[in-house]
């Protein structure tokens, strides 16, 4: 009973391992692996058997099987001590089979998998050596042999990791050092920096005071409230509001220009230099690690205060209307561009355009309260849409005409587009004074002539037709991406295909296609009629012929049938297998396409792919072609010789 049980389990392990290695995947199926591990874990005999099986699989003449077996070996190797001792005993064999370092025992086909197998084996050996080399001399020996004698390139994982760690540590050290240095300099110069900042802030404050003092504030809210009802239209109301706010701003005049300039200068200084530097200092302080935490904290606090102060000053500046000159410039440019585009698009809606422009202008100036600004923007967008809509709606005739109008290229003829007047001849820049003869200053080129001259020449331009890719399914998977007009040299006529490359409903398509192709229906019908008549005649003749032939054919068929029967009988008598051959051929013919798309097997991996090079070689290196070339070459030589020595023959 126990024996039976054991026997069964043995079969289980072997079966599992063979199943796991019998696949074309690049990984072992994790479920199978887990099953193997759980089976093997419970008894030593299982493990021995597994080791034996795996070693046998490593001897298979297929790199894929070896590769998968190696992966399983690795899994077990890292887990079981017994397995390690078993594997290590035959390590040289394992390495021979997986690395293929012996000249007389190279790795088997397919070569792509073999190279993967080799690199994997080398990598695993290194891993094993790192973790268990201390306990197994064989591992050290194998590693040493591959590394120092055969000079295999090991991935050197451990050393690499150590190096990366080291590099990172060094980098961190360096940044810390830099931070500390910065901190030291900051500590030294902190007071002076503070002073500088303070002085800038003060100056700005003074400038602002001057500016604001020179201009009396305007009661804004009151006005708004009073006149609210008058502006029903939200849009108009908004415009109004904007203008009011604009008015509230201190206007730059020749009087306070100097102050404004100074203010602007200071503002720029503040934004581009001080704020940035303060931000930097803050980040330095938060990152730096120094022993003196107290000092750092106090400095940090001060800096944050300063930063807040700076920000408020900046805000004040912006409110006062002297925002950064360069940003304003940018925005102005934007406005201009947008304006031009609008003017092209809807020239008719002048009113809309204007309002639009103004609204954009208003956005350029920073408005006091942000929510309002947002709303403003939204309104702006909506308005744009509106104006486009209204543009089309308001002028239906125009839109209709636009839809009809031909697209013309730009040219000089556009100058006299639609005009029907005559042109004075000598206004065309001809030099007439120096010429003899009568000069008629009033010579006129008639409108017809002008029209004639201005006849627009258009080059025929072929419509760019997108050539559809062939999309026939390829044997290696994927679709044929060749673009041919009618016929793909590999897959025949191009027909529309679905995503999987199957032709879509070919018959209906041809029906669709034909009327498209034959533009002239009448012509087509006539031709058809003629053809029908001729066909009928032909058919009659054919039928007569056919009858004659049919008799002959029937006779032949009878003979053939008899021959076939005799042959088949003979074949059946000779082998049992050959009877199936015919059927096989039939089924193969029917299911060729399905066989193509069938799953890749281990055997199919071994098949050598026929590359275009091979095909070319087949063409070019066959004897006939070679002979022809040789003949040509010798003929050429002969001819040369005859030319060179014409008197000899």
């Amino acid at each position: 009973m126990m024996m039976m049980e054991e026997e069964r389990e043995r079969v289980v392990v072997v079966g599992l391992i063979e199943k796991a290695t019998n696949s074309t995947a690049a990984e072992v199926d994790p479920r199978l692996l887990k099953a193997i591990k759980s089976v093997v874990r419970h008894s030593d005999s299982e493990l021995r058997l597994a080791a034996q099986t795996l070693m046998n699989l490593m001897k298979r003449d297929h790199s894929q099987v070896r590769y998968l077996a190696l992966l399983i070996i690795d899994e077990l190797f890292m887990r079981s001590k017994l397995f390690r001792t078993l594997v290590v005993e035959n390590l040289d064999q394992l390495l021979t089979l997986s690395v293929g370092f012996r000249r007389n025992l190279p790795l088997p086909a397919p070569p792509s998998v073999a190279s993967v197998l080799r690199s994997k084996a080398v990598e695993l050996l290194e891993k094993w050596n790192v973790s268990y080399g201390l306990y197994y001399r064989q591992l050290r020996l194998g590693f040493d042999h591959l590394k120092n004698t055969l000079r295999f390139q090991f991935p050197n994982l451990q050393a690499n990791a150590v190096r990366i760690q080291q590099e990172r540590r060094e980098r961190e050290m360096r940044t810390r050092e830099i931070l500390v240095n910065k901190f030291e300099t900051l500590k030294e110069t902190f007071s002076s920096i503070k002073d500088e900042l303070q002085s800038t802030i003060d100056e700005i404050g003074e400038c602002l005071e001057i500016v604001i003092a020179s201009d009396e504030p305007m009661p804004l809210g009151l006005l708004d409230d009073e006149e609210m009802e008058e502006f029903r239209c939200s849009e108009l109301r908004r415009i109004r509001l904007d203008t009011l706010k604009e008015g509230n701003k201190v206007q730059e005049t020749s009087d306070n220009k100097v102050v404004f300039d100074a203010l602007r200068e200071l503002y720029r200084l503040l934004v581009t230099k001080h704020l940035v530097s303060v931000q930097e200092w803050v980040s330095v302080l938060t990152r730096v690690e120094v022993a003196d935490n107290r000092c750092r904290d106090s400095m940090l606090k001060e800096l944050i205060d300063i930063r807040n102060n700076l920000k408020s000053v900046k805000k004040k500046c912006e409110e006062s209307g002297c925002s950064l000159p360069d940003t304003r410039n940018n925005e102005e440019e934007d406005i201009w561009e947008e304006g031009t585009i609008e003017s092209f698009e809807n020239r008719s809606s002048v009113l809309n355009y204007q309002s639009d422009d103004s609204s954009i202008a208003s956005t350029s100036v920073k408005v006091k309260n942000k929510p309002f600004e947002n709303r403003n923007k939204e309104a702006d967008v909506k308005e744009k849409l509106d104006c486009e809509d209204s543009g089309t709606d308001s002028d239906p005739l125009r839109s209709k005409l636009l839809a009809e109008a031909p697209l013309m290229k730009w040219g000089s003829f556009l100058d006299s587009w639609g005009s029907k007047r005559d042109y004075l001849a000598n206004q065309r820049g001809l030099e007439l004074e120096g010429h003899w003869g009568r000069i008629d200053y009033d010579a006129v080129i008639p409108a017809e002539k002008i029209a004639e001259l201005n006849v627009q020449a258009t080059l025929y331009k072929e419509d760019p037709v997108e050539i559809q890719p062939c999309h026939a399914p390829l044997s290696k998977g994927g679709l044929c991406q060749r673009r041919d007009l009618r016929v793909c040299p590999f897959h025949g006529p191009i027909v529309p295909r679905d995503d999987e490359g199957k032709p879509i409903n070919q018959t209906s398509l041809t029906e669709e296609l034909t009327p498209e192709l034959e533009t002239n229906l009448v012509d087509h019908l006539a031709k058809q009629a003629v053809k029908n008549v001729r066909d009928r005649d032909k058919e009659k003749a054919k039928k007569r012929e056919h009858d004659k032939q049919a008799l002959k054919r029937a006779k032949l068929a009878k003979v053939r049938e008899h021959n076939d029967a005799v042959l088949r009988d003979a074949a059946l008598a000779s082998t049992s297998r050959s009877s199936a051959i015919g059927e096989d051929v039939e089924t193969a013919g029917g299911e060729r396409s399905s066989a193509r798309s069938k799953k890749q097997t281990l055997a199919s991996m071994l098949k050598k792919k026929v590359t275009s090079k091979d095909r070319l070689a087949q063409r070019l290196l066959n004897t006939r072609a070679r002979d022809a070339t040789e003949r040509q070459l010798t003929q050429g030589e002969d001819a040369k010789y005859r030319e060179a020595f014409p008197n000899q023959w």
Binding site: K34, K37, S38, R41, M78, R79, S80, K81, L82, R84, E89, N90, D92, Q93, S131, Y132, L134, Y135, Y136, R137, Q138, R140, L141, G142, D144, H145, T149
Partner: protein, 458 residues
């Protein structure tokens, strides 16, 4: 183990058998030593290994890159992995950079048998050098007529200091250290001499094996060789003990005088058959000595009968020779991938079938036997096989080298085996020393980076 000690204590077990038992126990557990590592400084194949005969402590190795190195196999030079790995680095290395160093591969490096003050190296550059170990200076050298394949000194010698050398040349030369000249030139081989070996029972007897497949015995007190081993001249198994032998001898001599030298009647028939099967030449060679030997041996000695002189021990070259400890038997390895055990006294092939797979053919190999000559260590391509000398069965197979193994040396004192191969490594094979307790204790100290135990995560 404990039982044996108790028996020994009570006197049931005799000291000799006690020690033998322990030795054989240890021998049967020999495996690749994980804890003793010899760091080979050689950059070429290791061709020769020998532990000195006086202390059993210093290992001498000669390699193809013309370097010789000496290691202390008792005391490690440094430890690795928290004391787990003992590394034995070379104490002395002499290579091409040395002013008197050999130019080409060293094929043989042996200790002076009396002490460790001298060692002798033979090289493919036609020279045999004698070195002072302490000063690492060359004290003497001999120019040979061709590549030196093997040198040997007798460990028994009390009256001579001769280095026997096998070279490309057909003659075996004996170099006298005392005078610095060739004292003997032994001619008889028809091709180069691959191996030379002194008898372990007589200080005057030298055994040489040549590329012509002949194994010759020389008595250096007389001219010429006195024995040529013939492979078709055989007896089955070991010689029976003396008393039995006397009895059978009587029978055989009474039966026929011509069959006198052979031990028993039984093996005769199969041997004859084999001889006939081997072809006419062999059968002729085997017949003639049968006829002449017993009566004419003494008379023949200086110049053997020419047909007997042509006898071969192997079909190819003889590449390895080893005389057993008691001097009664000779093991020979040939490039025909055969290992043969010869009874020296009767000069018969004992027909022990060693399950050899393949031996490397191009180079001389160095065999080793255990003290009681029960086991023989044979380099077979990339592995070293251990055969039972008397039955020829494979006892153990040591796989560790990645290239062909050239030489092995069995240290009688430690029951350790040292092997050197073309992969430039010198491996130590020792009886499993560390038992589980020790290892556990050691690993408990937490010195290991990753403990060697099961690690099933799932």
């Amino acid at each position: 183990m404990w039982k044996e000690i108790r028996e020994r204590e009570s006197g049931k077990l005799r000291p000799n058998s006690f020690s033998n038992r322990i030795r054989s126990n240890r021998n049967s557990s020999i495996q690749l030593s994980n804890y003793k590592e010899i760091v080979s400084p050689h950059r070429g194949a290791v061709n020769s290994l020998q532990v000195d005969l006086t202390e059993g402590r210093y290992l001498l190795s000669g390699a193809s890159d013309a370097s010789v190195a000496i290691y202390d196999v008792q005391r490690a030079t440094d430890y690795e992995g928290g004391g787990l790995l003992a590394k034995h680095k070379s104490l002395v290395t002499i290579d091409k950079q040395h002013e008197h160093g050999h130019k080409y591969a060293i094929s043989s490096a042996i200790w002076y048998p009396i002490d460790t003050g001298l060692f002798i190296t033979g090289s493919y550059d036609h020279h045999i050098n004698i070195w002072d170990t302490n000063t690492t200076q060359m004290v003497m050298n001999f120019k040979m007529p061709g590549k030196v394949y093997r040198t040997a000194m007798s460990s028994l010698a009390t009256s001579h200091m001769l280095i026997a050398s096998g070279t490309e040349d057909v003659q075996v030369r004996l170099c006298d250290i005392a005078s610095g000249a060739f004292s003997h030139t032994l001619s008889g081989h028809r091709d180069g001499v691959m191996t030379v070996e002194w008898s372990t029972s007589s200080e005057w007897v030298l055994v040489t094996g040549g590329c012509d497949g002949a194994i010759r015995f020389w008595d250096i007190r007389r001219a010429g060789c006195f024995r040529v081993l013939n492979q078709s001249h055989s007896q089955l198994g070991r010689r029976p003990p003396l008393l039995q032998r006397a009895a059978t001898n009587k029978v055989s001599t009474s039966k026929s005088l011509s069959k006198g030298q052979s031990s028993s009647v039984k093996p005769r028939a199969p041997q004859r058959k084999m001889a006939h099967g081997n072809g006419s030449k062999q059968s002729a060679a085997s017949k003639i000595p049968n006829l002449v030997k017993s009566s004419a041996r003494q008379r023949l000695h200086p110049g053997l009968l020419s047909s007997q002189d042509r006898a071969t021990a192997h079909y190819g070259a003889v590449i390895g020779l080893k005389v057993t400890g008691d001097g009664m038997y000779l093991l020979s390895a040939g490039s025909d991938s055969r290992l043969r055990l010869w009874d020296i006294e009767s000069s018969c092939n004992t027909l022990v079938n060693f399950e050899t797979v393949r031996l490397q053919t191009g180079k001389a190999i160095q065999l080793a036997t255990t003290q009681d000559s029960a086991l023989v260590f044979v380099p077979c391509m990339t592995s070293v096989k251990v055969f039972d000398v008397w039955s020829g069965t494979t006892v153990l197979t040591f796989r560790g080298h990645y290239e062909h193994v050239n030489c092995c040396w069995y240290s009688l004192q430690d029951q350790e085996l040292y092997t050197g191969g073309n992969d430039r490594q010198i491996l130590v094979w020792s009886p499993s020393k560390w038992n589980a307790d020790e290892l556990d204790e050691w690993s408990k100290k937490g010195k290991a980076s990753a403990l060697d135990e099961d690690n099933w995560s799932d």
